[in-house]
Symmetry: C3
Subunit: 144 residues, 3 copies
């Protein structure tokens, strides 16, 4: 095993995957408050599609509520698949995760389509449970 393949790292990878499964399901179910609670109080959410980062749990919840309302009005189901996770524990106990995300959308009656492909870079903190302190999402269709 290399240094990044200790037993701790192995367990951490499984915890990270479980965390994302729960977190993305909350977002896709429109549970905006519970979703926001998977971020730290002072979390920063950056996206190359937005001019300004979203700052703080309250703003993150508001953005999720707005997106959920829009999807409900359109009758569209959205699924966030986050995968290909490269999990890198830092010395200070935080965890960097580099991942890919796919957004699959399905209108009532179908068909399902790949709505978006992105990368996601997370800084996770571990205070009894994992939480996102800093997220950077970059859409593949937006070229710098």
């Amino acid at each position: 095993m290399t240094e990044t393949e200790t037993n701790d790292t192995v367990g951490l990878g499984a915890r990270v995957r479980q965390f994302y499964a729960v977190q993305m399901r909350l977002l896709d179910s429109g549970e905006a408050e519970a979703w926001a609670d998977t971020f730290t109080e002072d979390a920063v959410f950056e996206a190359n599609a937005h001019k300004q980062p979203t700052r703080g749990r309250r703003a993150i919840a508001a953005a999720a509520r707005a997106a959920a309302a829009e999807l409900r009005a359109a009758g569209t189901t959205r699924r966030h698949w986050l995968g290909m996770c490269d999990v890198a524990p830092e010395e200070d106990g935080t965890v960097r995760v580099y991942s890919y995300a796919l957004i699959i959308e399905t209108p009532a009656g179908g068909p399902s389509v790949v709505r978006m492909s992105t990368t996601c870079e997370d800084l996770l903190v571990d205070d009894g449970g994992l939480r996102v302190r800093h997220r950077i999402v970059a859409r593949d269709d937006i070229v710098p």
Copy 2:
């Protein structure tokens, strides 16, 4: 670690992912009997696309045989991707898994398309190996 992040749970998550990789490959390869053997003898398979649940291993095998024959006749390859697994062990030793599934279809000559997006809720039992006792599949394109 929270209560849902014990070492046992971490190992369980890896076992569940391995189980689904094998199970879905059996289905996609048209190995109907081996696929049915990943369910308990008395398993129940519910789907929002079907009026009645499929009950028992024999009926589950028959349904898989019919689907495989149809795909073979059409010259279509189907791949089930099951992911974003939220793994929740129950006190009685069973395991609840909430997941997303994508069905990717490729006709001879292509192109590949997302044929369907679903959720999947499984009740797994663990008698030496994992098996599905109860599965509920809900297609995203079918609105209640």
Copy 3:
């Protein structure tokens, strides 16, 4: 637990997933030399789309450089998702992994599409870190 579900196997599954996350990101970032370094010096890369296998790390790097140049020229972002990993350790310390892969492509301005669905069969060796000794990729759109 069955024989294939020992703790070692569980940890191995997590290592394999971490390996693929890093490996595929190298390919998708156009880092051809680092990508080739995830194969053994004498690795063989077979594909049902190619008449001849690609042999050796140098040839694997060259192929990746050519593909990256083509994508850059076209302004297309490619993401390799490798998943549904069935991880089977062999008695000699090597590891067989049977997986599915999806290639998602996004041109500048979008939209993202499923470009290809394949299977992947790897023989991994473990000399301090995992490396691919033999890979067989089969596109689903190419019928034998």
